[in-house]
Symmetry: C2
Subunit: 172 residues, 2 copies
């Protein structure tokens, strides 16, 4: 969901500048790691958490252009499509807002397709489209991981990389 359907990074940076204007900021292009806490100087973990756990953060993420249309096309082609997403540990706003986000940006029917889990390796599937570079879970995943392009996963060379303008190559 985040970084694939919902534009997590843009909003995080906006909120970061607004709430902590005197702290160093890392523009998206310079983000080298998936986890924000690893991209930002040590000692700012609590500030990152403040932003992510604030009411409205997840609900108000902008949709990443082309995502909704890609989901519709996948379904039209006969694929069974689900939204597999991991909540942050401070779940209070995140969990419900992910459902609200799906309803608002994709339509109510998609809320029934959400699979919310910290460990995506526990979910069946043929393909997982995700921006996270690596998945370490309780088992070896059944799905093939297709990487949704982001600056922080540029170093991954052994996976098919897509955006919503060229995703159809996964069908080949």
């Amino acid at each position: 969901m985040d970084g694939v359907l919902a534009d997590f990074e843009t909003r995080f940076l906006e909120e970061w500048k607004r709430k902590f204007p005197n702290h160093p900021k890392v523009p998206l292009e310079e983000r080298k790691t998936f986890y924000l806490a690893e991209s930002y100087p040590g000692g700012l973990k609590k500030e990152i958490e403040i932003i992510l756990s604030a009411p409205g953060f997840y609900e108000n993420l902008e949709a990443i252009s082309g995502g909704k249309e890609a989901l519709a096309k996948m379904q039209k082609l006969g694929h069974d499509v689900f939204i597999c997403t991991s909540p942050i540990s401070k779940y209070e706003n995140c969990v419900l807002e992910k459902y609200r986000w799906a309803e608002k940006n994709l339509g109510f029917e998609w809320t029934k397709k959400i699979i919310m889990t910290k460990d995506k390796a526990l979910v069946f599937g043929d393909i997982l489209i995700d921006d996270k570079p690596e998945h370490k879970g309780a088992r070896k995943p059944a799905w093939k991981h297709v990487l949704f392009e982001a600056p922080y996963n540029k170093h991954v060379k052994d996976k098919l990389r897509i955006t919503w303008s060229n995703w159809e190559r996964i069908l080949e």
Copy 2:
């Protein structure tokens, strides 16, 4: 979660009597079907939904006695235990309250073990302990279904039936 760890039925009946004292009620012992809407006379679907989607319904379910201890024992024996639960379609209160329920009744660490999905067949596992008589999902489940005993699943004869006083037979 509901009907296995959380006592859904008792609270539903209490709320039903309180909110709709003039409607017919079905005591737990007489419930023949898993879905409330099928147990109650036609035309009461909306009233059932009012109860289930009300703020506090899921959060305030009582814990089923022995559940927490059984989970702890499973973990102690080396099993990887998750809480697989399906939200109602009117997700607004249900989704978050299931996380809160787990934190309050089992402890915060268990909120990280929640897998929230309408379709449990999409989740890996060796065993699913569930009160729902049958699972029809997008695929054939990988897990063996162990039935948590309830009046509405008495008709199922081909599955191992347990309660929290005799669950250890699943280890045999």
